[in-house]
């Protein structure tokens, strides 16, 4: 532990006099158009958006847009009749053949198209990365304007792992040519659920 003590002593000796933290609570955006902004931004980063009135519509949209003969998994009870529920205890390597994962966002951010997914929403940490295609259900009322509002809502957060995911995996490492589908999902689709959270699920 010698290095620890030495490093800390050097840092203490060399750090400049105290400087105050700025007030970052001034950054606020109470835009009323978060859903339309979200849709525009998410489309511009290569994502696909569907507006759905209820879970039935979501359920019906999936086989129309993805290969339902391949493995489709979900964390959502509402879709469990049609698709495999994600096991939270299975070896993460066993998900390498997943075609589509359907999960639900806790929050979504209009300014950058990202969804916030604490690990409980993923089923397992590897799910949104290992699947070939990722679909995320976003209840319309959880969309916020900017990252400032998002972090205010997340707070400390009870998760071991959480992530913002904003679009399909991408790279431009070869001559700046944009290629979707580097190592993570090749496509990302969101279903914005217009149904208010108070309305009970009706099949």
């Amino acid at each position: 532990m010698n290095s620890r003590e030495n490093i800390l002593a050097d840092v203490l000796k060399n750090q400049p006099p105290a400087r105050p933290l700025p007030d970052t609570d001034v950054f606020k955006d109470d835009s009323q158009h978060v859903v339309s902004t979200y849709c525009d931004v998410f489309t511009s980063i290569g994502g696909q958006v569907f507006l759905a009135k209820n879970w039935c519509e979501v359920s019906a949209l999936i086989p129309r847009n993805f290969d339902a003969t391949k493995r489709i998994i979900t964390t959502l009870q509402e879709l469990s009749e049609s698709f495999e529920l994600i096991s939270t205890t299975a070896d993460p390597h066993t998900f390498n053949d997943v075609e589509l994962a359907v999960i639900e966002a806790e929050l979504a951010v209009a300014e950058n198209g990202a969804v916030w997914l604490p690990e409980q929403r993923m089923g397992q940490r590897i799910i949104p990365y290992i699947c070939q295609h990722l679909a995320v259900v976003i209840p319309a009322h959880v969309i916020v304007a900017t990252l400032h509002e998002a972090y205010a809502q997340i707070g400390e957060g009870n998760y071991g792992f959480g992530a913002f995911i904003g679009g399909p995996s991408k790279t431009a490492d070869i001559e700046q040519a944009l290629v979707l589908g580097a190592h993570g999902a090749i496509t990302m689709t969101v279903f914005i659920l217009e149904q208010s959270p108070d309305v009970p699920f009706a099949a």
């Binding site: 840092v11 400087r19 198209g113 580097a182």
Partner: protein, 465 residues
């Protein structure tokens, strides 16, 4: 990679041999700079965000000791094993010991400039550990046995045909295939197999939150997550300066980072690691490697505010036309040129001179580092400490003497004009460094003084009429 003895000017000279390639490189980076401009202008509070980010980082540097202790305590409470490394050697030894204890001989690594600085790959390979870089650009650079030329776009200096040839040689793709989508798909398939077979994964760290003990890793490809979530042992390497005080400050930095880097509103993946997965080990190595020393240099400590977006490289006229590898340092471009002399002033004495001091780097920096001022400051230090190149020292002494009196200035001017007019071959040759890529002008007939004296008389005559 340590073998390089050529300086920036000599390496840049090799890079500019292919004019068409240089023009392409210049344009590709300028295009990214333009994307940054478009993205930043969509945010009305952009300048306020830059100022806030700068002030948060000032606060971090002024209170780093306590923040490090707070981060360590919280991360430890979360179940992360925290290590401290004074230098590259100690960092590498820690990584190796973690792997050795588990008898792991294969590591998958996502992008980490710190581990490049530490030459971790070479260290591990010498000890029988196989390392694969999983970021596509870094993977390509590894295949070609070259370091990254840009911190965000590691192989931006390569044309797709060169990459196609590398894939043909190492991955068995058909000869002549250079389509970026096709090559990316081949790498995806190949690296999938790597991810699912590696028991250990190493990532870099973009931000570490003192308040909560979690750390954030940003990628576009998803490679850091593919490695981390399939591993039994997860290792993160971070420089001391990556601390942010509170979680809400992440909003400021994540809004600035990707927009400054590539013009994207946010990186595709911003992963927050707080606790290891059930049954997994999570290690984090806090690395000093010169950072505490830089903290003690008042003129240069602000370089530690850097969030590694690469905007200063994309905008730099010297970087765009000389390529990242000509900086012979892991972090190239303007920011690299102010970080590197702290580590080895003699070896990197040329870098602060690889700039026009135009100031564009400081103008795009998301945390408002005064990069061009520091480049200028380093030049003073390097000359004072006796590390400047002899030709530079001689040139500056000659210039100082020439400018020291009106008589010597007039005499040298006259001599110069005579040479240009009568024996131009004496300066139009390779021995004169100013002649490279330039035509020497014809000599003027007289000096400004002579012209002014003559012209002034005429004016006075005119006034008399």
């Amino acid at each position: 990679m340590e073998k390089i003895t050529k300086d920036h000017a000599a390496l840049a000279e090799a890079f500019i041999q292919n004019e068409e390639h240089v023009d392409w490189h210049d344009g590709a980076l300028w295009w990214i700079r333009q994307k940054r401009d478009i993205a930043s202008k969509k945010i009305p509070e952009w300048e306020a965000l830059r100022e806030a980010a700068s002030q948060i980082k000032n606060n971090v540097l002024s209170n780093l000791h306590d923040y490090l202790l707070q981060f360590e305590a919280n991360a430890t409470r979360n179940g992360i094993k925290v290590h401290w490394a004074a230098d590259a050697e100690e960092h590498n030894a820690i990584v190796y010991s973690i792997l050795k204890e588990k008898d792991i001989r294969q590591l998958v690594k996502s992008k980490s400039m710190l581990t490049e600085e530490c030459h971790l790959n070479e260290y591990l390979i010498e000890r029988g550990v196989d390392v694969i870089n999983s970021d596509l650009g870094e993977y390509i650079q590894q295949l070609d046995n070259e370091p990254p030329s840009h911190i965000v776009l590691p192989c931006i200096h390569k044309r797709k045909e060169e990459i196609g040839a590398l894939f043909h040689e190492h991955l068995g793709t058909e000869k002549g295939v250079s389509d970026p989508t096709l090559l990316t798909r081949v790498a995806r398939k190949h690296l999938r197999n790597v991810f699912v077979t590696r028991r250990a994964a190493l990532t870099g760290v973009n931000f570490a939150v003192a308040e909560t003990g979690e750390y954030v890793v940003c990628t576009n490809e998803g490679n850091a997550d593919m490695g981390a979530h399939l591993s039994d042992v997860q290792i993160a390497s971070m420089g001391l300066e990556k601390i942010v005080p509170q979680k809400k400050h992440l909003a400021v930095f994540l809004r600035l980072l990707a927009r400054s880097a590539t013009g994207q509103p946010i990186t595709i993946y911003s992963s927050h690691f707080k606790r290891p997965r059930e049954g997994q080990e999570m290690h984090l190595i806090l690395v000093d490697y010169g950072r505490s020393r830089q903290l003690g240099r008042p003129a240069f400590r602000d370089s530690l505010k850097c969030i590694r977006c690469g905007a200063c490289m994309n905008t730099c006229p010297v970087y765009r036309k000389s390529g990242g590898l000509s900086y012979h340092n892991t972090i190239s471009g303007p920011i690299g040129a102010i970080l590197a002399p702290n580590l080895d002033m003699k070896k990197h004495a040329d870098l602060p001179f690889a700039s026009t001091l135009c100031g564009s780097c400081s103008n795009v920096c998301p945390v408002k580092i005064n990069i061009h001022d520091q480049l200028y400051e380093w030049r003073q230090v390097i000359v004072r400490e006796g590390y400047a190149a002899n030709t530079k020292v001689f040139g500056m002494k000659a210039m100082a003497w020439t400018l020291s009196s009106p008589t010597s200035y007039a005499r040298m001017g006259k001599a110069g004009r005579w040479v240009l007019n009568n024996i131009p071959f004496a300066v139009n040759n390779k021995l004169n460094p100013w002649f490279k890529q330039r035509e020497m002008p014809d000599g003027r007939k007289g000096s400004f003084d002579e012209w002014y004296a003559k012209n002034n008389d005429q004016t006075e005559e005119a006034d008399e009429h």
